[in-house]
Symmetry: C2
Subunit: 368 residues, 2 copies
């Protein structure tokens, strides 16, 4: 993540991951989730926070999920059913449950099918937010598989190239592949120039956005560096046509097709719930997995050993910084904004929950 | 394609597609391909030319293929063999043949597996250039399938984000999905900011490249608008980190992983031949195909009916302009640069071939 999106040092409270996991788990149980689903949903958020994906951790997302349960938009005890199935594919109705715990179970079905037949793909409808695609793609790796996860997720906020009205969500896609010794490859990207959550973060920490990241209300790309305005649209990856926004727009459309249309939800911009597409490739259906993982080590090492361009310390591959950050945060705790801690304090009071870390303003792991 | 890359009006020779197909077919037979393979290889190039994908038509590519056959780098009569196979997957050894005719046959295997099991994926090693990924992805559509094609193709020319030495090819990926009445969706994109072939075209027609498209020899992105320098590297989609090049880099790495590493060719930048990954999804394994195609009509119509931003005439989706161009070129002929026609004249003489269109400097379909 760019430095400007990190929580400013003076606003940081360090919380050990396991304390935050327990609290998040308790909140999910508090809104009615089963123990298993609560643990799984908490694991998604804490995994994101540990890997430095603040935009998809507890800070932004947990309060919106809690609001969703309280308003009845999310079903804490969903009946997940299979509506169509073949040897290698399934379509699930998520029963109105949160994607954080429905998506991993859908990926598990894809993994089982791939174990038997080589490939497996599962789509999901009638489901809430996935909580970041990367977690679900990574789930395939311990099985010596490559994992892919996509989510067509509202709200519609991204302009098509040359358009003045948004037609796409930020529509993330993630691809994960295992290595032997190196941290796994994980590309986990929105198909917009910048995630909606990052704009929210930028507003919170007062950061500016780059030229070509957003467009004004008439659809004109804003080509100077500014604070996030109240009224704006997201642009597809690339930003402008000259810089390849037709590719970002196309990638976003693919996510809509694979997640919404292929799931039976219609045109992406009309779909009433998110749709997911989860895909697993069994590596030994193509090549010996140990050779694949050694070759991945060579590929990933080759990338990070690339001599850097002037002004840059090193080359990193997708997933490396997040794996490094995870080690730091496991040791030092996860830095949260005081405003987030305040939300936890209030919510804990409302739900009659008590937590140690609310008493201390800094976790044990905070740097001296 | 951006206007600047088109053949300048004064240099255009219009040739009817069927004349160029016959000539291309004869040249492929002339270098030793079987009738079937020659027809398939010619179809790929003419389909690209008809759709306005000049960078992957006869102008740039045919001469390099002919040189490859003459130098013994390409095998005109390859023995394509299956080296690993499961219910849904296969790995083919392309026998050193040209990808133009090996890839469609590999996609046909994926389609057969998807017909039986829902999904099918075929990887190919020991093979020449694919000739554009889009053609092969589109091949799935008449079977009511979604098609995906990727190719990790040398030469290594694209810098990783922050890198000073190239580590990736332009690594194209294509996704195609059918509609009922609308021209099909086809995203067919390189994962670099600009295709290597486009730089060659830009040099030929004297066009400039945009800021953030290429980097100088030290790896520093060139941020002004310039003529293509002799020494330069390609940048990943996005161009700079601020504009999302880490996503373009990641997408290029996925293509390397899926096409090179998963095929057993090792790290992408060390692979000695291109590797292909072809994937087919049978739509009715997920949803009724007629509903899917009607919904695609609604999605694609919704995209083109998006009100345009100031200064733009309309919004288009990936594949639409190419389908429109195909109609124009079927009626008017395909515009080629005089230099390309000259190559055909020379090559025809060398191979003792005769063609009508070489006698006329303009095809019948040329505008009055």
């Amino acid at each position: 993540m760019l430095e400007r999106f990190k929580v400013p040092v003076e606003d940081r409270v360090y919380v050990p991951a396991e304390q935050m996991r327990e609290m998040t788990d308790a909140i999910f149980r508090g809104v009615g989730l089963s123990d298993d689903d609560a643990a799984l949903a908490a694991d998604v958020l804490i995994a994101n926070d540990l890997r430095g994906i603040e935009s998809h951790g507890v800070s932004n997302m947990l309060r919106s999920y809690v609001a969703g349960y309280r308003a009845g938009r999310l079903n804490p005890r969903p009946d997940v059913t299979t509506t169509r199935e073949t040897a290698t594919t399934a379509v699930l109705d998520g029963g109105g449950g949160l994607g954080l715990h429905v998506a991993p179970r859908a990926m598990d079905v894809a993994i089982e099918k791939a174990r038997e037949f080589g490939l497996g793909a599962v789509n999901v409808s009638n489901v809430g937010h996935m909580g970041g695609a990367g977690y679900h793609a990574l789930r395939a790796l311990p099985h010596d598989m490559i994992g892919v996860a996509m989510s067509a997720s509202g709200p519609v906020s991204v302009l098509p190239t040359f358009g003045a009205v948004p037609r796409l969500g930020t529509n993330p896609m993630a691809w994960a592949a295992p290595a032997e010794e190196m941290p796994p490859f994980l590309l986990d990207m929105g198909t917009s120039q910048v995630a909606q959550n990052k704009l929210r973060l930028a507003r919170r920490v007062g950061a500016q956005v780059e030229p070509g990241w957003i467009a004004g209300p008439a659809g004109d790309p804003i080509m100077e560096r500014i604070q996030v305005p109240d009224e704006c649209y997201l642009l597809p990856l690339g930003g402008t046509r000259e810089q390849g926004s037709h590719k970002g727009f196309g990638l976003g459309a693919i996510v809509d097709i694979m997640c919404s249309t292929l799931t039976g939800l219609g045109a992406g911009f009309l779909a009433l719930t998110p749709g997911f597409h989860l895909l697993a490739y069994r590596i030994d259906a193509f090549v010996d997995p140990s050779k694949f993982k050694r070759d991945m080590d060579g590929f990933l090492r080759g990338l990070i050993e690339t001599p850097p361009a002037p002004g840059h310390a090193r080359v990193v591959y997708p997933g490396l910084l997040e794996a490094e950050e995870e080690q730091v945060r496991l040791a030092e705790g996860i830095p949260y904004h005081t405003e987030v801690i305040e939300w936890f304090r209030t919510t804990a009071q409302e739900m009659d929950l008590r937590f140690e870390f609310l008493e201390a303003e800094a976790g044990e792991g905070a740097p001296a």
